[in-house]
Symmetry: C2
Subunit: 190 residues, 2 copies
DNA sequence: GGACCTCCCTAACGGTCGTTAGTCTCTAAG
DNA sequence: CTTAGAGACTAACGACCGTTAGGGAGGTCC
C-alpha cells in the first residue's frame, strides 16, 4: 500500500469514528487529503473499501494484542493481561477501535460476514480464557463462564465511548480486573 | 400527540435502530407509514424531531425504570434491581434503547446538550447507588466506586448489541449481579 | 352551511451523494 | 529518450437527500 493510500486510511478512520461512516462523504475525505473528490478513486474502488480496511485493521490489532499474552501463564493472569491488551488497543488506536466496535455494521455482503466471523473468533478466545480458569480451578467452579466472558467483553467494547488516550491504561485495566475477580461485597457480609 | 404521529415515532425507532439515523431516509419512513414523503411534514418539522422523540423516550424509560427501585431497600439490593430494571427496558424496548445508546449523537445543538445532561444524570444515579453501598459498608470499603459503576454501566449499555426480547431478563441480570458482587475467584485461592 | 382542522396529495426545489470518463503532469526505470 | 505508472485534474452523471409550496378531500364544530 502506497504512503498516500495509507494516509487516506488514517483520515477515513478518524472521520468515520467522528461522524460515522454514513455521515462521512467522499468530499470530506478528499478535503482532508487535500485533493479533489474524484481523485480518491485513484486509491480506492469504493467508499466501502476504506471501511473494510479500518475494520480489518481493528480486528488485526485486537487479535495481535491477544496473541502477545503468554500462552503458559495462569488463566487468571492471562485474563488480566487480555484486558490490559484490549484497553491498550482502544487507547492507542481509538479511531480504529471505534470503527471496529460501532461502524463495522455498515459493511455489506461477504465483507460483513467475514468481519463478523473475526469478531466471533475474538469473543471465543476471551471465553476460552474463562473456561480455562474454571477448569483449572483458578476461578470458582460454579462460575457462569458465558456471563463472566460477557461482562469482560462489555467492559472492553464499551471502552471506546469513554476511554481517552494519555492515562495509565494498564492501571485502569487492573482496577476493572480487581473488581471482576474479587467482587464488590463487603468483608463483613456473610 | 396524534395516533398517526405516534405510529410514525414507532417506525422511526425501528428504522433508526436497524439502519442508523443517517442511513434512514424520509422516503423509508414514508413508505413504512404508507404515505408520500412530503406528507411526513404534516407530523414533523424536521427529521431530527423523530430522533429527538425516540432518544427522549429512551431517557424517560430508563429513568422511570430506576424510579421504580424502592428508595429504602439496602444499597446492594437496589443495585440488583437497577440492573434488572435497565435490562428490562433494553429487552422490552430494544429499538428505543438502541437509539438511546448509539444514535443519540446525531442530535445537534441544544437537543444534544439536553440529552447528554439526562444521560449524565442517569449515570450519576447509578454511581450514587455504589457510593451508598460503600458508605453503608454493604460493599467493601476499599471499592473503587467509579470503576464499579463503570462496570455496571458497561454491562448495561452494551446489552443492546446482544440482548434479544423473550428470555428471562431478570435471571440474566441476576447472573451479572452475582458475578459483580461475589467476583470470579476460586474458593481455594488466597 | 360556512369555518376550521387533520391528513394527505403532486410538483418541484437546490443541494449533495458516490461514481465514471477522459486527460494532464510528474517522476523513475529501461 | 522513451515508456510506464502514480497521482491528480475537470466535467459530468443519475440518483437521492431533506425540505417547501400549494392545494384538495373528509370530518367536526358553531
Amino acid at each position: 500500500m502506497s504512503a498516500r493510500r495509507a494516509e487516506l486510511t488514517r483520515i477515513a478512520a478518524r472521520l468515520f469514528a467522528e461522524k460515522g461512516y454514513q455521515g462521512t462523504s467522499l468530499a470530506d475525505l478528499a478535503e482532508e487529503l487535500g485533493v479533489q473528490k474524484p481523485s480518491l478513486y485513484h486509491h480506492i474502488a469504493s467508499k466501502e473499501d476504506l471501511l473494510w480496511d479500518v475494520a480489518s485493521e481493528g480486528a488485526a490489532a485486537f487479535h495481535a494484542a491477544l496473541d502477545a499474552v503468554p500462552e503458559r501463564a495462569p488463566a487468571v493472569e492471562k485474563i488480566r493481561l487480555a484486558l490490559r491488551a484490549h484497553l491498550a488497543v482502544v487507547a492507542g488506536q481509538l479511531d480504529v477501535a471505534t470503527v471496529f466496535t460501532r461502524e463495522w455494521r455498515h459493511l455489506e455482503g461477504e465483507r460483513r460476514d467475514g468481519f463478523v466471523a473475526e469478531r466471533r473468533r475474538y469473543e471465543e478466545r476471551i471465553r476460552d480464557l474463562f473456561r480455562e480458569g474454571v477448569e483449572g480451578s483458578e476461578l470458582r467452579t460454579d462460575l457462569d463462564v458465558a456471563t463472566a466472558a460477557l461482562l469482560f467483553l462489555s467492559a472492553a467494547n464499551w471502552a471506546y465511548t469513554w476511554l481517552r488516550p494519555g492515562g495509565d491504561t494498564d492501571a485502569l485495566a487492573d482496577r476493572f480486573f480487581a473488581v471482576l475477580l474479587d467482587g464488590m461485597r463487603g468483608y463483613a457480609t456473610p
